[in-house]
Amino acid sequence: MRHIISVLLENESGALARLVGLFAQRGYNIDSLTVAPTEDATLSRLTLVTHGNDQVIEQITKQLHKLIEVVKLTDLNESAHLERELMLIKVKASGAARDEVKRCADIFRGQIIDVTATTYTVQLVGTSDKLDAFIQALAGTTILEVVRSGVSGIARGEKTLAL
């Protein structure tokens, strides 16, 4: 099963390498990973999408906890949560495809943020599923480049992952 794990990490050199190394050493999967500093400059917030059975996910969270630089973590799947991913997608937009891509982007509430005579670059924000669906919807056009940010997640309601 797919899990989104949110981690507060000491913003120190080597901390990220240690965390990523753990996944490599123990053969866990990373489907996506996003990391950036928080409002507190000493902390990074990291969102990691992984998958595995319950036993594997339990080991992942326990092993992450053991890393000295991991301050706190939560498995967002344990409660209601929001997830968003950003995608920038460059497609061929000439002839009939030019209108089709525009229409499709509108339907998905994407924005065309760069235009040339033959291409569009569309920005789209949503769940990973929505981004997948948009790529599917563009099946008839030529996709030149896809850039995805990986998932960021946060719990719904008053629940927070903070110090």
Partner: protein
């Protein structure tokens, strides 16, 4: 000088390294000099509190520090240079990591501005050591050195212990640049707060389950030794009349001579320990981690058992075997709390059921009982270990290498005290034995310290015979020489139709002459009747290293041996018998 200026003493980074070690109570620093650590060596030279032990290979420095920690419970300290000095220490760091041994390893590094330039003797030691240590850090500012060293010792020794590496670029230790020195008295880390006490509700549940059990077993591992909980464990076992088995790492945490001790369990565990485990209705696992050398096939593991698992590391619980009653905490306070509850309740397990259970265990004990064929003309390794145990009154520090001799020592020495059996259990590092024995002998000069080894393992760190001479380390080396890499040969006998691919050595040195060349005493034993006089002579030479080259039966195998893919209780009992 005012009192304030006394408090803010100015030291160079190099001097701070050594002073911090002294303030941490480090007596011996094991290491080897080189370019990147010369400032630190110069600071070492100018003081007397921290004594340096010059090894002949950095791997030995790490094993010495590691063995000191295994014997004393306190972290050992190592200093090596950058590049090859650091990479030579890697095996020792991994050895300590696999067995959860506290150790602090200081590695030199090239000057900060050269890092990443592929400078002379540069290697990314933080990257290399990351997966094999509990934590690692690099020094970015010389004034941080005391706090970093304090933090390293704290992390190494608290929670589940382990090695910590500190990488020190050479420009952090320049003698002419001084900074205020203050050694912190404690460390607090927001991201690392190991649990100490166990959950009271879980402990109550565990006690109730223990009292209700009809076929219980106590399965205790290295965590009991590093956690200093042998007394509590022994008291609990005796209060409840529990059969006790130990892992390879746990030997000595319960006295082997006691009737309730049923031997080591696992791959080369005793017949009765593996049977008792398999048939138990309750397993109380204390400071043990259900590793593959214990469980055999996890799918067939102990089908009827409720499992209580006490461990300081939550990640060890339900990793391979699901625990029904997990208790995270230091084993010593958890066992104390269990004892207090039991004393308060004044209840005992069902005595009729326990009597029946013990009868069954006694029956299992008669099936194999550690027997071996001692009739052959050649010396048997098991017999040698028994005689070593006899002459040292079962009270020596026994430091082992890795292979058949290690299993024979584990099975036949009989450890009655914790911290006396020192071996590389998790990583299985050949070459561990001699440096380990050296580390123990240096710190316990009056104790008998034995290195049980084989002609394969001993040659992996044989150069340390020179270090032994320099520091007068009177270790007794029991070299069980069968001319083969015995454990490899045993597997080749059992699984490869005795095709001895590279397990035979036909150009062994004359170990007696070799010992003499290094300035020690060498004794060769080829006939059974020579053994006891040789041992007597060796142990009478108190302050001398004696190398006993004992020629043993090359055909001997270690039994029992679990059958791969089987349950706990499926074993080969000899070359011709199996369960």
């Amino acid at each position: 000088m005012t009192s304030q200026s006394k408090q803010t003493e100015m030291l160079s980074g190099a001097a701070m390294v050594i002073r911090a070690l002294a303030d941490e109570g480090v007596e011996y620093l094991y290491g080897y000099p080189g370019g990147a650590v010369l400032h630190i060596y110069d600071a070492l030279f100018q003081q007397t509190k921290v004594k340096h032990v010059l090894v002949r290979h950095e791997q030995a420095a790490t094993h010495m520090a590691d063995a000191y920690a295994r014997a004393s419970g306190k972290a050992g300290a190592v200093l090596v240079t950058s590049g090859p000095g650091a990479t030579n220490a890697v095996t020792g760091i991994a050895t300590a990591y696999m067995d959860s041994i506290p150790m602090v390893v200081l590695t030199g590094q090239v000057m900060s501005h050269l890092i990443g330039d592929d400078a002379f003797q540069e290697t990314d030691m933080l990257g290399i050591s990351r997966p094999i240590c509990k934590h690692n850090m690099s020094v970015r500012r010389p004034e941080d050195i005391p706090a970093i060293i304090k933090k390293a010792f704290y992390i190494a020794q608290s929670g589940r212990p382990g090695p910590v590496v500190i990488d020190i670029p050479k420009d952090m230790t320049i003698p002419s640049q001084t900074f205020p020195y203050h050694y912190p008295s404690e460390v607090k880390l927001r991201s690392y707060q190991p649990k100490l006490k166990g959950h009271s509700g879980q402990i109550k549940k565990a006690v109730t389950a223990l009292l209700a059990a009809k076929k219980p077993i106590l399965y205790a591992g290295g965590g009991v030794i590093m956690g200093g909980a042998s007394n509590e464990l022994t008291e609990l076992a005796q209060l409840l009349n529990l059969p006790v088995t130990n892992t390879l790492m746990g030997l000595g945490c319960y006295p082997a001579s006691d009737i309730q001790f049923i031997g080591m369990l696992g791959m080369h565990g005793s017949y009765e320990a593996n049977q008792t485990m398999h048939h138990a209705d309750l397993i109380l696992a204390v400071g043990a981690r259900f590793d593959d050398r214990v469980t055999n096939n996890t799918k067939k593991f102990c089908p009827d058992a409720t499992i209580i698992h006490i461990d300081i590391d939550p990640a060890s619980i339900s990793k391979t075997i699901n625990a029904h009653i997990p208790i995270v905490g230091l084993v010593q306070p958890v066992l104390s709390e269990m004892l207090a509850l039991l004393h308060h309740k004044k209840k005992k397990p069902d005595s009729a059921a326990m009597k029946k259970w013990w009868q069954q265990i006694y029956e299992w004990r008669t099936v194999h009982g550690g027997r071996y064929d001692n009739a052959a003309p050649q010396l048997k390794p098991q017999y040698v270990i028994e005689q070593v145990s006899k002459i040292t009154k079962g009270d020596a520090f026994v430091c082992s290498d890795v292979g058949q001799h290690q299993m024979f020592a584990a099975q036949y020495y009989g450890f009655n005290k914790p911290n006396r059996w020192i071996n590389s259990g998790g990583l299985g590092t050949m070459g561990f034995g001699l440096p380990a024995a050296m580390g123990v002998k240096l710190n316990y000069p009056d104790a008998d310290v034995v290195c049980v080894t084989g002609e394969g393992s001993i040659q992996m760190n044989i150069q340390e015979l020179s270090t032994c001479k320099q520091y007068g380390l009177g270790v007794k080396i029991i070299n069980l020489n069968n001319g083969y890499l015995g454990m490899v040969k045993q597997w080749q006998d059992m699984n490869y139709e005795s095709r001895y691919a590279s397990s035979y050595m036909d150009s062994l040195p004359d170990f007696v002459k070799l010992a003499e060349a290094y300035g020690h005493v060498g004794i060769r034993v080829t006939e059974p009747e020579q053994l006891i006089p040789a041992l007597e002579r060796a142990f009478a030479l108190k302050d001398q290293l004696v190398f006993l080259d004992i020629h043993i039966d090359p055909k001997e195998h270690v039994y029992p041996m679990q059958i791969p893919g089987g349950a706990m209780n499926e074993m080969f009992l000899s070359k011709t018998e199996r369960t």
